[in-house]
Symmetry: none
Subunit: 200 residues, 4 copies
Amino acid sequence: MAARPELSAARKNQILDAAMVVFARSGFHDARMDDIVQESGLSKGTLYWYFKSKEEIITAISQRLFATDIKQVESLLKAEGTVSERLQQLIRDRAQGLREMSGMVAILFEFYAAALHQDGVRQFIKTYFQNFHELLVALIQQGIERGELRPVDVQAAATALDAVFEGLIVRSLIDPDAVQWASLGEAAIRLTLDGLKHRQ
Amino acid sequence: MAARPELSAARKNQILDAAMVVFARSGFHDARMDDIVQESGLSKGTLYWYFKSKEEIITAISQRLFATDIKQVESLLKAEGTVSERLQQLIRDRAQGLREMSGMVAILFEFYAAALHQDGVRQFIKTYFQNFHELLVALIQQGIERGELRPVDVQAAATALDAVFEGLIVRSLIDPDAVQWASLGEAAIRLTLDGLKHRQ
Amino acid sequence: MAARPELSAARKNQILDAAMVVFARSGFHDARMDDIVQESGLSKGTLYWYFKSKEEIITAISQRLFATDIKQVESLLKAEGTVSERLQQLIRDRAQGLREMSGMVAILFEFYAAALHQDGVRQFIKTYFQNFHELLVALIQQGIERGELRPVDVQAAATALDAVFEGLIVRSLIDPDAVQWASLGEAAIRLTLDGLKHRQ
Amino acid sequence: MAARPELSAARKNQILDAAMVVFARSGFHDARMDDIVQESGLSKGTLYWYFKSKEEIITAISQRLFATDIKQVESLLKAEGTVSERLQQLIRDRAQGLREMSGMVAILFEFYAAALHQDGVRQFIKTYFQNFHELLVALIQQGIERGELRPVDVQAAATALDAVFEGLIVRSLIDPDAVQWASLGEAAIRLTLDGLKHRQ
DNA sequence: CATGAATGAGTATTCATTCAT
DNA sequence: AATGAATGAATACTCATTCAT
């Protein structure tokens, strides 16, 4: 299709970058296409040349935002250290990712809400959740095999860890003071991990 | 103010009921006032007689939706049985509440997203979270005092339980198959509770 | 639906009148909805309250424009005079109707063109043609029965008269000088009628 | 101008062929330049290299479509057979031409409508009508001189024949079932011709 | 000659809100 | 209190045309 694929990809990213800034500032429906046009420095025609609707831009951003880094999965499974340590590292990495997304986190709910109406968006989020969940399953499985963790229901344990993390994001967005990631947040997760360890 | 206060309240509820149905179906943005008018069976003028804007309807719904039943708090604290049993009962009740809301759960994200823009909405949700959190704190505290639970960080433990529950809701909305409340969901919560118990 | 049907009908006519003026001036697609709004003296919202699209306005106008006056049919069949005289009178009336439509005639082709894409428009025009054709058939039939006309193929004769008239409109629109209705036009029609008369 | 004139002409025809297909399908207004680009298999730049606007394409098509074959005129005037026979042959040829245009006939109305706004288009159609009319005039004149036809008003007679044919096209486009060219159509024309013959 | 990315003025349509009755 | 007609600012999207390569 595109004569110059790199340029085409660059333009798309240029538009998505601008859109993310605008969406973070105004939310999905208060953001006007003209705002994205202005922020991107391109023309309206160009914007529509690359994306045929506002919805398509939202879907594309959700794809980029929830693209899972599969590499991370494999490396963590083979990394050194106890499973518990690596789980905590994973959580810390993810929290760091959230911090880097900065303003974007604010529109996380917009994506969640959009997912209920736009199948494309739902798929990307769903896949993201599933990948993260599978990583947790594998890690916990490893911990059990190594005798580091109790022989709990692996699926349930992964779901619990999963949920704690997601739930903390929800609460911190609604009530930022309630969750100090560095203290209360990590403590909550550690506590959940503790429950998986052997009692003695 | 109103000549017939009960009628007035009835009309308001009639409107809010209709609005919830429409919002759950279409989301806040795509829902038109005319949709609510039609769903309610009232006229547009009447709708605006009771609520002066769309935003006010959203706020009113969030108030109704997140109104905490304080009674439940006190009764649970004084109820019989182990703390663990009562916590599980609390979770079961809340899950039941969600089930009763059925299709309405879908608008949860809309409210979370709206909370970032509308202070009224945020306040109701925040208070809801805080009340629930405080109840958990009190219960866990009781468990520790009775020697039933380990002397963990009460705030962190409550936050963890809190978060698990909220996280499960998020996941179940995006990927309904991933969380079977009756099995995996409850297992995840039980596991988290287990972590709080004495090891022996 | 409408609380005040007369008012509703009045408003619709007000809009259609304005639309006809604008369409005659600019043609269908050069006419902007704003032009119709301005010409009508109403607001844009009101215009869309009564017609949900530009296309619907076009269809409504075509309905009004091609509404056949059935009364005329019956009266002509029972009127006095020779069939030939009455046919010529019919033609004269119709030509007069065209003159009264004045500017509207210019957009006749727009309707014909629209008919190929909008079924509503096509139906109204088709019905108009059919009604006119049936009247001609009845008149010619009468002429034959009275021995005034030759026993020709009635359908073919009506079609011929029909077509002459329609063809004259086409030519006069493209080349106004070519068809002087009062002279050449009527002469052409008289000639066609002559062909139906008895030779001797 | 062009390095290879034949190629240039070929490209132009390629574009005009594509444009006719698109115009017949969608009408002038709904047809987009991109549609013509796609149908032609060329690029947009190339299309604009040969025609500098959509209007110019429309005008060029009308020129091609309404170009009269002057040869036909002369040959028919010198051909053998009665005038009546030759007239009927002319009509049959023209009807055959229409059949060959098949789906293209639909754009006739678009051109008629366009003629009211674009002088270029009007001229081509007008000339076409005039040429055809003059041929009819000459033929009828010949018929009268040879004593084959009555000494009718030649202009009026030609106009009548002209109009019948044009009118039949109009009706057949709006209501294809109403005009079966092979039967009703030709009958109508024959009837008109009959009217020109001597009574005896 | 050919390409297709880039432009931006132009426009139909929507929908929250108001208000005369 | 109730009705539904009226309002108009706001906005996503289109598409003929241009131009750098």
